[in-house]
């Protein structure tokens, strides 16, 4: 099980703060593809990914229990 956290416009689009996904041993790219096809998320290509609160790369592999966050371009400050 992987937890996917949603923020900002993604949270508004999907209407949820987080999604639980049955998945393990998939890459971040694969996770992105799966989210893209399950939800209407064209903007996911512009989204950074963090795993357990650290920025991650597309090739990084996910394990069960990981907390992934979709991080759209930030606008703090």
């Amino acid at each position: 099980m992987i937890t996917v956290l949603l923020f900002a416009q993604l949270q508004d689009s999907i209407g949820k703060e987080q999604i639980e996904m049955e998945a393990s041993n998939i890459s971040i790219s694969e996770l992105k593809e799966r989210l893209k096809s399950t939800y209407n998320l064209p903007q996911i290509d512009h989204v950074m990914i963090s795993v357990n609160e650290e920025y991650a790369l597309p090739g990084d592999m996910l394990s069960s229990g990981d907390v992934v966050a979709l991080i759209p371009p930030v606008s703090g400050g």
Binding site: F7, A8, Q9, D12, S50, E53, S75, G76, G77
Partner: protein, 159 residues
């Protein structure tokens, strides 16, 4: 250090408390940056803002910025607090304070901090305009996603 130097808060930011966190005898200069809610942006009127953060990661990223600053500018102390939730006009969204023996480093490190916040800290701003609302996608490149997807790309408007 026992003091919380990097924080995300829901309540109004107390600037004086932040300044106290970095005050010390080695310092001869303390710079502060406050990002405040501006009413007008390119002719469009803001009524209020709403900030959302991925809190634990945002704190980690602020800590990382602090670490970068200490590596780049010798003998600096940094404290940063970002507020989330609803903010009215003129309220402080972010406060950055830097102390240093000499002023040049205090100015440079402070400006570096706000630039890095806009790059790596997972915090998002929703503009509540007079005529609608928008999550601001990227202040540096100004990519707004008004309906949850990119529709237009404008020139950066950095506050």
């Amino acid at each position: 250090m026992d003091k919380v130097m990097f924080d995300i808060v829901d309540e109004p930011i107390q600037v004086g408390e932040l300044i106290e966190k970095v005050t010390r005898r080695e310092a001869g200069a303390i710079t502060t940056f406050l990002g405040t809610v501006r009413e007008w942006t390119k002719g469009r009127r803001t009524l209020y803002l709403e900030y959302q953060a991925y809190k634990p990661m945002a704190v980690k990223m602020l800590e990382q910025i602090g670490k970068e600053i200490k590596e780049k500018w010798e003998n600096t102390e940094v404290a940063i607090t970002h507020r989330v939730g609803r903010l009215d006009l003129s309220e402080v969204a972010v406060a950055i304070v830097v102390s240093s023996p000499h002023r040049k480093a205090a100015y440079e490190a402070n400006e570096y901090a706000i630039e890095r916040i806009k790059q790596i800290v997972p915090i998002w701003k929703k503009e509540h305009w007079e005529d609608g609302e928008t999550w601001i996608g990227d202040q540096l490149e100004q990519v707004p996603y008004p309906d949850g997807e990119p529709t237009k790309i404008g020139k950066g408007d950095m506050s």
